[in-house]
Assembly symmetry: C2
Homo-oligomer: 423 residues x 2
Amino acid sequence: MSNKIPRVVIVGGGFGGLATAKALRGAPVSVLLVDRNNHHVFQPLLYQVATSVLAPGQIAAPIRGLLAAQENTSVMLGNVTGVNAELKRITIDANDQTGVEIDYDYLVLATGATHSYFGHDEFAAFAPGLKSLADAESLRNHILTVFEKAELEDDAPRRHALMTFVLVGAGPTGVEMASAIAVMVRTTLRKDFRNIDPATARIVLADMGQRPLGTFAEELSEAAKLRLLQLGVEVRLGKPVQSIDEDGAVVGDERIPSKTVIWTAGVAPSPAGKWLGCEVDRAGRVRIRPDLTVSNRPEVYVIGDTASLDQDGRPLPGVAQVAMQQGRYVAKAILRKIEMRPPLSPFRYFDKGNLAVVGKNFAVLQSRGVKISGFIAWLVWALIHIQFLADSSLRFSVFLQWLMTYVSGRRGDRLIIQGRKTS
Amino acid sequence: MSNKIPRVVIVGGGFGGLATAKALRGAPVSVLLVDRNNHHVFQPLLYQVATSVLAPGQIAAPIRGLLAAQENTSVMLGNVTGVNAELKRITIDANDQTGVEIDYDYLVLATGATHSYFGHDEFAAFAPGLKSLADAESLRNHILTVFEKAELEDDAPRRHALMTFVLVGAGPTGVEMASAIAVMVRTTLRKDFRNIDPATARIVLADMGQRPLGTFAEELSEAAKLRLLQLGVEVRLGKPVQSIDEDGAVVGDERIPSKTVIWTAGVAPSPAGKWLGCEVDRAGRVRIRPDLTVSNRPEVYVIGDTASLDQDGRPLPGVAQVAMQQGRYVAKAILRKIEMRPPLSPFRYFDKGNLAVVGKNFAVLQSRGVKISGFIAWLVWALIHIQFLADSSLRFSVFLQWLMTYVSGRRGDRLIIQGRKTS
């Protein structure tokens, strides 16, 4: 590599990393984006893959393809294992080799988050989460399989456990997943079986807090709760999950026999803090400075779900918008440094608003004082999500699929695919 | 179950089993279709999933959905392990239980075929085949992964091995797969990489026979061979594959270093012959009578790839058309027996013709004396395949996807998804 062109290494091809890379298009830097997957996933729609509405390829796009036209950018499939900030070097596992070293002039860690079981790691085996395409496909396989088993099960208690779904965590993912299952069992699956009626499935949404969608205004939480109850979802609030095993969960003091417990309650950041050996917050996220760098490392940026930054006395939420805005900020900040111009003013998140879907035709929307729930909010949700899907070719296909599922109740991707090998 | 309504048990939801079930719609029988997968796969397009053109959901449909409107039919997810023809009973593994027994009045075994390595089972680990959605997804993951590794590989011989593809077997699947890879590396992947040029990939198609597409007329084999050479595919004929290991294959006396060997050379029938303990042909397929039943078992039918029947002195080929025509024949034959009407005249296969695609814009077509190759044959191929896709909602989506890939060279489903769990 020439010494003249600064090298920007971005780790992670999620919303933050991709936004950084795209904002560096045509800039006088050499960009390398490293991700352990070959694709960017539109995470807010993972629940639709898990409930057979969309195919994995409709919410994911190969990172290479997204950045192919950017001549200053290359993409590497690799798993980062460490950072040597002193030597400005990261180590990765790639191409079947461990400890491959890559030098950087600027480093952007956008490595996201995974599930947190709040110290109950033993729950993990029985209550998977929903963070990756593989998670979503596993859940799709599982949900379809429990109905197949229920159809063949003569023992009533076992049949009920197969047809009971427990969602732990009533944030957007838990609410969307619970309502999507409720809609699926009453529409798509209704006519498929002869011995069971999928519409009788029991769906329980549990949270320790006192209301669903805790980050929304109280009136919207109420609207969402009402809608969930209308959809037949049992909402259990203020009840901690005491235990989870292969036969179900104990929520408060109620044992719920279930073969499907889904965990959406907590997230744990990537090990970026450990790699850097720097200050982290209680959840383990890297405490970053208002210019999104790490203390004493003006060339190391940390953004998105793995970073912790307060704004107006409150931590920024772990949402796509924060990561994307941070990514674009970082790209500008790096260019300023290279061009020896004065630094940017500190990062400020511009909150465009929040949306969560509750089943068909219903969403809650909160944006800069506006609070609405119902069909209009749902329409806004659909339009915004089509708009934001990273790859233009995906938009049309998702739109068509939604239209078809909306009108007919059919779900195209109702496949249980077993035994795939990976290499 | 009432004794008055005869129970038809169909094993296998491929072309043969599905055709039987559909032809029994509204008939005075109770139909049970058992398959170990929840979906019917349109096998002739598996190679397009393996080469990232189509998504799994575009060539597969849930069997329940396909038969949901047929009130006399139920579907069961289960793996058949044996047949007791004396007691008219099959045993299956289903719902985590082994040895579940199911009684039948009529049995239709349409259990298809798997790969055969002609006694070289040790090849299986290094040369997967292409029979199921899981196979196709594994290959897709693998093909995309070797390019990712090649991009990072400094050692030239290792890089070349990563970019070399060996197809064993020059039947339709081998020819279609070889040409599809050739098109993919020259279009879709071309701009994705910085260190390698995917278009320089080496593609070798090997067969023991003297020509590709051996079941077609010689002039069409010649046309196909010419087209393969134009696409840059190396065609090795009359050369047996001596060995296959993790570093490549020995074809004739040439060692070809390769990280991707794909086996399309042979098929082995399902164990239907063993279950029935009846006469089989050299390949292990059940020898059936002209009415598609097994000797001395007028209530047991065997159809499709797992059956062996001669017509005009030659065995019927293992193609979808044979299985579908047999399935419809069996449905009629069963109804005749139930209604005490005279039996049907013996089964006769009506050969509508054969088609094979060689890359973009080129196919060979042979049908009742007509032999054409080139663009017109390719158009016919595209129309017929859209027409035959089992599920009407799939047709439109496949058509759109093809149109997009045809015009832009883009492939939507270029995803490496790792670590999915099955339950």
